[in-house]
């Protein structure tokens, strides 16, 4: 069979790959054939009949979405017959469809409205009674207005095929057919909201957006979701400086139109009543409001005092996994150059240093991009539960298996939902992941025999793969990463590798050197500082702690009274966290949705974040650090995130990517390197928060929309 076929559509010739559908061939020519039920990536239906076209020598009209282009085929999409057919389909559809436009949320972005304007009749001939079913609330987030449903089944297919949740079905028959949720009248699902955005009409709508506004009244800001390390792009819809909704219908970014519950609905924390709105200083044993000037001066004075009395190295800095690259970069410059301390770290959820070292020292290994997990034919997942922790990765793995026939292999301490897509999953005894990887590499280990046999089996199945994409979670650190890289690239195999860190800029925090042993770009420091845990066990060596955007008291499970080891604790955060509650000074900080800059996802791709809303009462961490630096006597000469970015681009190894690329929202691949081997990080320095679809560290606690979900209650 030839690789390419040439077809003629509306008198224009086009050459497409063999097996292409006529509707896709037409798209290549810029000819848009209307369709409801056809949706790229989902199974074919040919049900809505909107895409009927004329094919020469064929008596009946054919659906372009199921017709495979054949060499020499002649198709016409604008003949009178086709135009009449489309008109009649729209007319049929509008018979039971209610005239809800005035009250329907979809108005203005409704595909049926578009089709009617483009292809339909100007008036209705239907005078009979419409079938009416009252609206239903499938979940707090998913409302269903059955009369509006055009039964295209996109929702059923996306939930089944793309999400593998299968929470929607079709009941009854004929014109009484109706979409059914899986728990009686309710949905018990992952609440990702994919069904809402894929619905071409206003049948499935968002419960949080219902009746609030019109799509043309919103200001749209494209930015990166503030939650997990996948780095999905999200478009925030803003009205009167308030985020009203989030989706990614324009399919830009690394995630196409995928977003999980957090990406779609986890934005309301920005308006939580618990947001810190003014600086706080501890006076008379209590945190009390202060002005910015007061707070800055007070903190600067105290820090200077401690530095004078105990030396520069008496100050420790804790960075954030959710700040921008510019903020992380600035923070480590502040720590190292202004404060003069080597003690800077952050709560680490992935051994990125190990990943960079491993990849740098192997010719066959390279960094995996997010998209690689949707395209590779052989996939290896070690640890992590992507369905919960990295939903985009889970989505990509599912698509690779479903659409590319990829083989997925999993190692983990317990069975996960992705097992359903896996060729093989081996359950490893708790804590023995390094043994498992060692076994894959060397063929022996101290693992029980049945596990060892399964690993041997897995190894055999992987043997013939010429290339592989590998993702590993916090279960794999240090030496184990070297073993993993060696195994993945054995026998000349090309391996693309990714480490899975919890949050939106866990990777960026590491890349930007918020680490005691690395400067930005994994350049080794001459004298490594203390790790975060060491700072809390310093026995008096660290006297002051400056915490930015993290909550070590909670995340490191510090004992009550941890605070007494320090004379000064300064915190910058959105909320009064456990750490902040015991601090001496607290600065109210802006969230990721309230600032400009860049973030790097766990796959090493840099993407821009853009400020969507503005709260006058908070300041970005960038500004707070910059001002403090100035007051501490160190002018950093970086006035804005843009200037910080330019410095990063030029000075940080691996970050020499195109600014233009970043500005237009391309996910630009960074290429850090470590060419030497040195002291390895202690393995217990890395741990994951093990978030779920409904939790997201501190931010997640204040996402009321998500916290109110029945599924979130259950998973607590």
């Amino acid at each position: 069979m030839a690789d390419q076929v040439t077809v003629t559509i509306d008198e224009q010739k086009v050459s497409v790959g063999a097996g292409s559908l006529v509707i896709e061939a037409a798209k290549a020519l810029g000819i848009s054939i209307p369709s409801f039920c056809y949706y790229p990536g989902l199974s074919l239906q040919g049900a809505c009949r909107m895409c009927l076209v004329e094919v020469e020598k064929v008596p009946k009209l054919q659906t372009a979405c199921t017709l495979v282009a054949q060499e020499g085929m002649v198709v016409r999409t604008q003949t009178r017959q086709v135009v009449e057919a489309r008109k009649s389909m729209v007319e049929f559809l509008l018979t039971n469809h209610p005239l809800d436009c005035p009250v329907c949320d979809k108005g203005g972005e409704c595909e049926l409205q578009d089709m009617t304007v483009r292809y339909g009749l100007a008036s209705s001939r239907f005078v009979e009674e419409k079938i009416h079913i009252p609206e239903q609330k499938f979940s707090p987030l998913v409302y269903f207005d059955a009369p509006r449903c055009i039964l295209c089944f996109r929702c059923v297919r996306v939930c089944d095929e793309a999400m593998d949740v299968k929470a929607l079905g079709v009941g009854e028959r004929g014109a009484y057919s109706v979409i059914l949720p899986n728990q009686g009248e309710r949905l018990d699902c992952e609440e990702c909201g994919m069904c809402i955005d894929i619905c071409p009409v206003g049948a499935l709508t968002s419960g949080t957006y219902r009746y609030k506004t019109r799509p043309w009244e919103l200001r749209y800001v494209g930015t990166i979701c503030t939650h997990c390390g996948d780095g999905c792009k999200t478009t925030l819809g803003v009205r009167a400086d308030s985020i009203v909704r989030a989706n990614n219908r324009d399919r830009s970014g690394v995630n196409g139109e995928f977003l999980c519950a957090k990406g779609r609905f986890g934005f309301d924390f920005t308006e939580s009543k618990a947001r810190l709105r003014q600086p706080l200083i501890r006076r008379d044993g209590r945190l009390q409001p202060a002005s910015w000037e007061e707070a800055f001066e007070w903190v600067a004075a105290r820090l200077k005092g401690i530095r004078k009395e105990y030396g520069r190295e008496a100050i420790g800095v804790a960075g954030s996994s959710r700040n921008t690259n510019e903020e992380c970069y600035l923070l480590q410059r502040y720590a190292r150059q202004v404060l003069g301390t080597p003690h800077i770290d952050h709560v680490r959820s992935a051994d990125y240093g190990g990943l960079v070292a491993g990849v740098s020292q192997s010719a066959g290994a390279s960094f995996a991009r997010c998209a690689d997990f949707a395209e590779a034919r052989t996939l290896l997942l070690i640890g992590n539960d992507p369905t919960q922790q990295h939903p985009l990765l889970a989505y990509n793995l599912r698509q690779a298996v479903r659409r590319m026939g990829a083989r997925l292999f999993i190692l983990g301490f317990q069975e996960i939902k992705l097992k359903r897509q896996a060729r093989q999953m081996v359950v490893i005894p708790e804590g023995e992941m390094d043994q498992a990887i060692g076994h894959l590499l060397r063929g022996k280990s101290s693992l029980p025999r049945d596990v060892a046999t399964q690993l041997d089996d897995l190894k055999t199945q992987l043997a013939a793969a010429p290339e592989m994409a590998v993702a590993f979670g916090s279960e794999v650190t240090g030496e184990s990463i070297y073993d993993l890289v060696a195994f993945a690239t054995a026998g000349g195999r090309m391996a693309k590798i990714a480490a899975l860190g919890d949050y939106v800029n866990s990777r960026g925090a590491s890349d930007m050197g918020a680490l005691p042993e690395f400067l930005p770009g994994y350049v080794r420091t001459n004298e490594p500082g203390m790790t975060l845990r060491e700072m809390f066990r310093s026995r008096g060596k660290i006297r002051a702690l400056h915490v930015v955007g993290s909550d070590p008291a909670k995340e490191l499970r510090l004992p009550a009274g941890w605070r007494n080891a320090f004379e000064l604790v300064v915190v910058q955060d959105l909320f009064l966290t456990a750490t902040a509650q015991d601090a001496d000074a607290v600065f109210p900080a802006a969230s990721l949705y309230e600032k400009d800059g860049t973030v790097t996802n766990t796959y090493g791709e840099v993407q821009p974040v853009r400020r969507a809303i503005h709260h006058a009462s908070v300041r970005t961490d960038f500004d707070i650090i910059r001002i403090l630096a100035q007051l501490m006597g160190g002018e950093l000469k970086l006035r804005s995130p843009e200037s910080a970015w330019e410095e990063i681009r030029v000075t940080v190894p691996g970050y020499g990517v195109s600014t233009e690329g970043v500005l237009v929202g391309q996910a630009c691949k960074t290429t850090p390197k470590i060419s030497d081997s040195g002291r390895r990080i202690a393995a217990n320095g890395v741990f994951s928060a093990n978030d779920t679809l409904f939790t997201s560290g501190t931010l997640g606690e204040y996402c009321e929309i998500i916290q109110s979900l029945p599924e979130a209650q259950v998973s607590k």
Partner: protein, 606 residues
Amino acid sequence: MMQLSEKLETKFAELLRRYPRKRSALIPMLLFAQDETGQISDELIAEIAKRLDLRELEVAETLSYYSMLRRKPCGKYHFQVCTNISCMLRGGNEIFERAKKRLGIGHRQTTADGLFSLEEVECIGACSGAPAMQVNYDYYENLSTTRVEEILDKLRAGKDPKPTKITSGTLRPQRHPSEVPVISRRFGLPNSASIDTYLQNDGYKGLEKALKQMTPEQVIEEVKRSALRGRGGAGFSAGMKWSFVPKDTKKPKYVIANADESEPGTCKDRPLMEMDPHQLIEGIVIAGVAVGAHQGYIYIRGEYRYVMNILDRAVEEAYDHGYLGKNLMGTGFDFDLWTHTGAGAYECGEESALMESLEGKRGYPRIRPPFPAVVGLYGCPTVINNVETLSSVPAIIRQGGEWYASLGTPKNGGTRMFVLSGHVNKPGVYELPMGFPLRRLIEEVGGGCWKGRKVKAVIPGGSSTPVLTASQLDTPLDFDSVAKAGSMLGSGAVVVMDEETCMVEVARRIMQFYAHESCGWCIPCREGTAWLKKMLDRFHGGLGRREDIPLIGELSRNMLGRTFCPFGDAAAMPTISIVEKFRGEFEAHLNGRCPFVARELAAANR
């Protein structure tokens, strides 16, 4: 774990053995469970879901597609009164009205004492005995309002109302001289369904010949030579269909007998199965020999329960005698056969929707190509033919395709079963040569139009076919001639309407059927049939507007040729023919009254 009766547990275990995929047992399991428990409860859904490794949602969405499966209990005696075309023409509506009045309940309601429930149903396959109804699975044919009352009284008194035991109009003291009994030749023999009778009357000789004296290719050639065309409705060459099955494939192959007979006006597969089940079995196995299939299913509509029981007994007999199972007649050829029950869905008679249903899913048709011969049941090559088509095969193999072809007309070989119903004196099922003139069927075989009236219109091949007028009665009844006359031979269901018939009511009732049965997959059929049904309801109810008349035709034409499967055409074509050929009657209704007052339809309660 829900407790089920031992009988049901045994049935479930046995059902699961029939299929390579568990889900196929879903609909039979649901129906058998419902027979015992009265309705399908949430608990039962959860239980069956667990046993079949399905989600509860999958069970719920599947069962809700099928008319016979219910979530609420009905009466001990569930009255299912047919009001579709053949029954309507002979008083079905009056039967339903009388039942309503006597029971004091309406459609889909149950009496307070829980004894009776009532449902207006679509064609139950008793057209030659119209008007007819079912009580649970029992048939009651040739009803009168008096008879209905009698049945009610008997049931209430715990006495036997004596249901109809075999399809009406199939056994007569004497066959009509024009009949050519090829596949109906054993009708009327004592114990005609038993294998002993079958073996005494050339039984399984065709299979023997096919296995021992012919190659598979020769079998296909013989069937091609016979010019046997599909008797279900489409009229596609059976031999050619079989030849599409790929010769080399590692996949298992299947033969399916389509016994979903639901085309209004049609009840000819029912007598074939109840009176000569082994003929069908033999035909299925010969098809298996021809294409290299070793497994077969008879997909039989849920309402034909007693017929399925007869088939099951025959299948058992065939296994006992070595005509099914392993190493048939010592030739090394294996063949397994099972029945499979539907649960009330006309669209499941469409070959690809049938396979979806057999796989345990909602009866949606599939994208074609690929066709069943290449990608069929479970994605494997499948021969699927109508019961009558397969029943014709043994005689073809025994006596030769040329002989069979010669009985009919060129390219339209053999004989076929015709169901004559409606306004004739002798409704019944008759086997006549292909090409037999319609006029002779009505006047000679059928005893002419009843009550001394004249014929106004005739449906030649089931409600999906355009009507013919009185001026077209000289049409020979074969596929090509009827096509030339602007209609279709279809299922061979000839429904005669006299001059007192309101054609608007006929159009309305036919569209009600299609709106009820539309699977809902594609826009034009789902919305088009619903719209037209409401429009025709309103029109015959007296509120028709002048602009409705051309609109009926236009909407039907908007469905024609644009739907996902031929169901849309089946709804559109007869409607177009009626509104074109009887426009005057539509106009006569514009004054708000039906000119045929004696047939005033109660348009309410739809």
